[in-house]
């Protein structure tokens, strides 16, 4: 597993040991009462987690293919439901997608292919202004125009 | 015969593998035999070509003639704008495509 960008939790070691709880599947999570980390596949309903957000520290959303944008909706739905824990995008995550992902509520990223730190920083800082509200709380331009 | 074609990365121009370089003219295309995939990967990786692919062509006195009409249009240019093709002075150029 590659480096995780932005995670408040300590990175797991390559062997998978470390302080982070393993993210279980949605089915397993709904069965287990003590898991604090879950992994959501693109075709799974984020709303199934809503009753359990209080006990989750980490929700990892899978991006098996960068074209599959379902994870963006899942992320926003979870933040809209009040989830405050770590929301991680894992998989085929391209550097040019990070800004959108952040806006949808992701705060950490586990891309399969390593990313260049400088390019990551540039991508995230590119846009000062946004046109529409999203999960990041950034004021859309119309709010700046009218207060 | 099998020939390689693609586009120049920076300019977008249609190019044809001429044995050791990429030419803009299909007449220069060489038969790559069984080596097409290997050449393609190498050249793409070195960015001497973009989005290359292997196509069938027949040998004619005028040079290789791509088997598919699409690649013949690529080789010449738009048949409806002879002035924008590689052969603006040749009134038969469009016929070659069809």
């Amino acid at each position: 597993m590659g480096d995780v960008i932005g995670s408040p939790l300590p990175n797991p070691s390559p062997e998978g040991e470390g302080l982070e709880q393993p993210a279980v599947t949605l089915d397993a999570f709904l069965d287990q009462s003590n898991a604090t980390a879950v992994r959501l596949e693109p075709d799974e309903d984020a709303r199934a987690l809503i009753p359990h957000l209080g006990r989750l520290e980490l929700i990892e959303i899978a991006f098996p293919a960068y074209r599959d944008g379902r994870g963006y909706s899942s992320a926003r739905i979870l933040r809209e439901a009040g989830y405050k824990g770590e929301l991680r995008a894992q998989g085929d995550v391209l550097v040019d997608q990070l800004a959108f992902m952040k806006r949808c509520g992701f705060d950490s990223f586990a891309p399969e292919a390593p990313l260049n730190d400088e390019v990551v920083a540039a991508s995230l800082a590119r846009y000062d202004r946004v046109y529409q509200p999203a999960a990041d709380g950034a004021a859309p331009v119309w709010k700046l125009r009218h207060g | 015969m099998k020939i390689l074609t693609g586009n120049d990365l920076a300019s977008g121009a249609v190019t044809w593998w001429a044995g050791s370089w990429w030419s803009r003219h299909v007449e220069d295309a060489v038969d790559v035999g069984e080596d097409g995939e290997a050449i393609l990967q190498r050249e793409d990786g070195a960015r001497r070509v973009n989005a290359p692919y292997l196509i069938a062509a027949i040998t004619t006195p005028e040079g290789p003639r791509p088997a598919h009409i699409k690649d013949r249009v690529r080789a010449l240019g738009p048949t409806v704008r002879p002035d924008l093709t590689l052969k603006p002075a040749d009134p038969q150029a469009g016929e070659w495509v069809i």
Binding site: R70, A99, V119, W142, H146 | -
Partner: protein
Amino acid sequence: MYKYDQYDQAIVDARVEEFRDQVRRRLAGEITEDQFKPLRLMNGLYLQLHAYMLRVAIPYGTLDSRQMRMLAHIARKYDRDYGHFTTRQNIQYNWIKLEECPDLLAKLATVEMHAIQTSGNCIRNISSDQYAGAAADEIADPRPWAELLRQWSTFHPEFSYLPRKFKIAVIAADEARAAMRLHDIGIQLIERDGTLGAAFYVGGGMGRTPMIAPLIKDFVPAEDLLSYSEACLRVYNRHGRRDNIYKARIKILVHELGAEEYARQVEEEFAHVKALNIDPPAAELERIQAFFAPPPFDAADVELDRSDPDFAVWLDQNVKPHKQAGYAIVNISLKPLGGIPGDASSAQIDVMANLAERYSFDELRVTHAQNIVLPHVAKRDLYAVWQALAEAGLAEANLDLISDIIACPGLDYCSLANARSIPVAQKIARRFADPARQRDLGELKLKISGCINACGHHHAGHIGILGVDRKGTENYQLLLGGSGAEDASLGKITGPGFSEDGVVDAIERVTDKYVALRADGERFLDTYRRVGFEPFKEAIYG
């Protein structure tokens, strides 16, 4: 028309720099073509048959002379001196160099233009009625809402990796001049009990499986337009098919769920989304509407001098009534006999820019039929405008006639095509070259696509032609009876296909049959709908 403020400009400028960096990384080999492709597509840059093709956005088809002149400049400096106006009111350049594209986009940004989201699996250019703000039959100018939708959809973080492309049209009149029902979302502004709102049609489209969008919600209050759209998109993003590129449009989702179930899911999501304060305040709409206030009309109504017969013909065919007395809507045909449908040279683009600035309150429109409109021309200026157009080869008096053909670029330009479409269009125009014959045939919307992707809207043609590949040769299928207007219908395939010359002959047999069967005042489409398919099928195949 809308003018950028500092925020709009900052966003476009940031995009220019972002793309410049992405191109640099591609040229330096830091990213592969596979990684670069979605990035360049979201910036409207295709790798096409001859070179890179750039599709520049013309939001809801509206632009001014300064922007038009820049399009001419781009054609001269970065391309081969012409541009192609498309069926989604955009412009395409076919010979762009990747290494020059960042500079080109920087120049466009200086006149508030861009190529953002003109390709890719995201929300594309919002299209609208080319007569907006000029036609008498609209209940409001739809373009402020189109502008709201444009801003809402630009770099929308949740909807940039949809299952497939997404096209929205906004109109405000019953007469549907923007093929609204054939869009992924078609919005018609309507009034109910004195309140402004919109009817939402979702799930239209052409391509492999053409569908007319069903009505999903009959009235959405105007202030909820964006949150309702957000709900529609979210349901699509979550549930649209991603297993098969040919089944990935929203029309398939709506069809497979059924309109009722889709509407129910949207309603559920809408209830949730509405609480998120997605919708801008009324002040924002008012701010935008101010840009679309009517121009300072001051020309008196005049009696037109029709003594020049060519001018009279052009008046009757290409000039439409304006809601303001003393004014008229001028249609500029980009379908001259022997020309390429939708193409204009840089010189012609400059002529149109100058005419707009001088005679049309500095405004032009691009239509989905690949023509140009000068929306506000004083009647007293019509003769001067016509003379200038005639001198520039832009006065073909064929609006909506058989030679006013919508044609995709086809195999001459497009790597997706199976057959060339432009030569067929040219042959048809030549066969029917006699202007009197064309006027006698009357309104006959002929649309040609070079492949099943239907960029030429062939399903919506009164007569449609689809180019196919038949064992390595170009072959053409004929369709009859389609319409993209408010009486939307999909064309029916007549039978076996034809060669290029064969399809021209077949069309002539169709039009001859129409002339033989028509009742007084009937267009071809009316006669077809009255007598049915069989008489025409027999005329074609014997």
